[in-house]
Amino acid sequence: MRNVAVRLAIATPAMVRVDRAGRDARLIAEGDWLVAEAARMDEALRALTFAGVTQLVIDGSKISHLDSAGAWLILRTRQFLEAKGIRVTDVLLPETYRALYQRLESEALAPASIHPRRQTFADFLERIGRGTMHVLHQTYDLVGFLGRVTVETWEAILEPRHELPFAAFVQQIEETGLSALPIVGMLAFLIGVVLAYQGADQLKRFGAQIYTIDFLGIGILRELGGLVTAIVIAGRSGSAFTAQIGTMRVNEETDAMQTIGLNIAEILVLPRVLGLMIALPLLTFFADVVGLVGGMVMTYFDLGITFPAFMRELESAITLRTLLVGLIKAPVFAFVIALVGCFEGLRVERNAGSVGKLTTRSVVESIFLIIALDAGFSVLFSVLGI
C-alpha cells in the first residue's frame, strides 16, 4: 500500500507565490501547510525564482493550519534564501504557530546523511575478506569451545565439585530422545519404504529382487538410519538448544549465573551434550529397526516376500558389525549437534533478532558438519577395511 495519499481532510489547499516590488519581495504562503501537502509544496517552493531580489518577507499570516512538516518547509526556504544572499527580513506566522516555528529554528537543523553510501567494488572485496575472516574466527572459536567443554566434562566426571546436574541430564534425554520417537520413527519407516521400493524396482530387472533385503539392511543400518536421525535431531534439538540458551542470554540469566558463581558450561552445556550423546544412539537404533520394518512391509507387498523369508535373508546379509558401524557414528553426531547448538546459543547478543539468526546458523552448521563427518567416516572405514 505505498503511495497512498494521506486521507487527512485538507480544508484549504496550501498555496505559495511571490509578489515582487522592485528589489523587495513577499513570499506569500496560504492554506493548510500540513504533511499531506508537503510533497506538493516542496515542488512549488523549488520552482520559485528569485532573480534580482535582495530583500524578502516570508508572509505566512494567512496559513490556516501548520504542522512541523510545513514549518520545516518554511524554515528551509528561509535558510535557502539566506544562503543565496537574499536578506529575509521577517517571517510572519499566525500567533498559534509561532512557538512551533521558533522551536524548529532553535534546533539548528541540517539534513542528516541517512542513507548508507553506494557500494563499490572495493566494498565487495572487503565483504569477501570479512566473510572469510568471520568463518576462520568462527572455526577457531568453535575449536576453543570444544576444548573447554571437553575439559569441563572430564573434570565434572572425574572430580565433581558438587553433585552433577543429574535431573537436567535425564530431562534432556527425555526431551531430545523420548519425545522425538514419533517423528524419527515415521521418517525412518518412510525411508525404509522408499528404499525397498526403489531397490526392488532396479534389482527386479536382473532377477535379483531378493537382494533388495541386503540393500535395505546395509543401507539403513550403516548409513541412512544414523544420518536421517542425526539430521532430524539437528533440526529439532540443536535449534532448541540455541534458542533456549540464547533466550537465557537475552534475559541476562547466563550473566546472573556467572555472578552467582555457577559454571555455565557445567550447568547448561554438559547435560545437553551428555544427554544427547545417550539419546541419539538409542534413537538411531530405533530408526534402524523401524526402517527395516518399513522395508519389510514394502517388500511383502511389492515382491511378495513373507516376513520369515525376509528375516532369513536379512540374517545372512548383515552382521553385528554392520549395525555397530552405523551406531558408532551416533555419539559423534550427537556431540557435534549439541556442541554447535550450545556454542551458537552462548554467542547470542542481547537482542531478540540475534536468537533467530543464530538458531538458523546453528542448524545449518550442524547439518553441514554431520554430512561432512559422515563422509569422513566412510573414507575411514574403507581405509580400515571395515
Partner: protein, 261 residues
C-alpha cells in the same frame, strides 16, 4: 490539523461503561473517562491496576469485554484493523521500550508512517526525518544507526520521533520515563511538555513517575478499584482513598510534591 483544531467541545477520547475482564479477573468495571483536546492526561495506578490494558483498549490492540471507546468520535472498542484506518494517522503511540523495528535504521523507522500514508519523495522524507530527530533532541548521526546501537533513553526518543512522524493530534505515551535515570527522565518530561505546547498535542500518558505527573500533566486519572478517579495533584492528594493517599502522601509522593514550592 494540529493546534487550534476545528472540532468543538467534543472530547478527543470518550470512554463509557468500559469493562475489561480476563476470565474471572475484572480489570475495569464500567469505567468512564473523557480526554479533552489540548490537555495532558496522566494515568497512574498500582501494578496490575490495568493501565496498560486501558491504553491498549483505546488504541484498538485489546478488545474490551463491553463498553464504548470513541477516539475522535470513532469507535475503537470493536477493534478491527480496517475501521481504525483513519485514526492511525491522527495518533502516535510511544511503546514502553520504543518498539522500534530492529531491522531498520532510526531514520527508516521514522519514515515508516510517512511511506505508509503519504506520497512524499525520498529527499523530503530524509529532511523530515532529520527534522524529527532534532525535534526530539537526538543528534543527526543517530538517524543512520540501528535500534540495537542505541541506549534506552535514545530508543525512547527515537520511538517518540516515529510517533510524531505524521504530526498526530493525539499522542499516547506508555511509561515514557521508566528505565531512564532521573536527569534523562526530567529532560524527557521537558521535551514532552515542550512538544505538546509547540505542536498543540493532546497527550495520554501512562506513568508511575510522580515527577512526570508534576512536570507534565494537566489532569491526573487514578485507576483505583477498577474505576477512574480524576483530579489534579492538589485535589487528589486530599483524597481519602487509602491507595491514592499513600501514593501522593507517602514518602516518595511527598518528596516529589515538595519540589513544587
Amino acid at each position: 490539523m494540529s493546534a487550534g483544531g476545528s472540532a468543538g467541545r467534543e472530547p478527543v477520547i470518550r470512554i463509557r461503561r468500559l469493562v475489561n475482564a480476563f476470565g474471572d479477573a475484572i480489570i475495569h468495571d464500567h469505567l468512564d473517562l473523557d480526554v479533552n483536546r489540548g490537555e495532558v492526561l496522566g494515568v497512574v495506578g498500582g501494578s496490575g491496576a490495568g493501565k496498560s490494558v486501558l491504553l491498549r483498549s483505546i488504541i484498538g490492540l485489546n478488545r474490551p469485554s463491553s463498553g464504548s471507546i470513541k477516539v475522535f468520535g470513532q469507535e475503537t472498542a470493536e477493534g478491527d484493523g480496517e475501521d481504525l484506518k483513519g485514526l492511525q494517522l491522527r495518533w502516535g503511540v510511544l511503546f514502553q521500550e520504543g518498539a522500534l523495528f530492529s531491522s531498520q535504521t532510526v531514520a527508516q523507522n521514522i519514515q515508516v508512517p510517512m511511506r505508509r500514508w503519504t506520497n512524499l519523495g525520498e529527499e523530503m522524507m530524509n529532511e523530515l526525518a532529520a527534522m524529527k530527530l532534532a525535534l526530539v533532541g537526538l543528534p543527526a548521526d543517530a538517524g543512520a544507526k540501528y535500534p540495537a546501537e542505541l541506549s534506552g533513553g535514545m530508543k525512547k526518543r527515537a520511538g517518540l520521533a516515529r510517533a510524531l512522524a505524521l504530526d498526530p493530534e493525539l499522542l499516547f505515551l506508555d511509561e515514557p520515563t521508566s528505565g531512564l535515570d532521573p536527569i534523562s527522565a526530567a529532560l524527557f518530561d521537558d521535551l514532552v511538555r515542550n512538544l505538546q505546547q509547540s505542536l498543540g498535542l493532546t497527550v495520554f500518558l501512562v506513568t508511575h513517575d510522580l515527577d512526570t505527573l508534576r512536570a507534565v500533566c494537566d489532569r491526573i486519572a487514578v485507576l483505583v478499584d477498577k474505576k477512574i478517579k480524576l483530579g489534579t495533584i492538589d485535589s487528589l492528594s486530599r483524597d481519602t482513598n487509602p491507595w491514592i493517599h499513600e501514593y501522593f502522601c507517602g514518602p516518595r509522593g511527598r518528596a516529589a510534591l515538595a519540589e513544587r514550592v
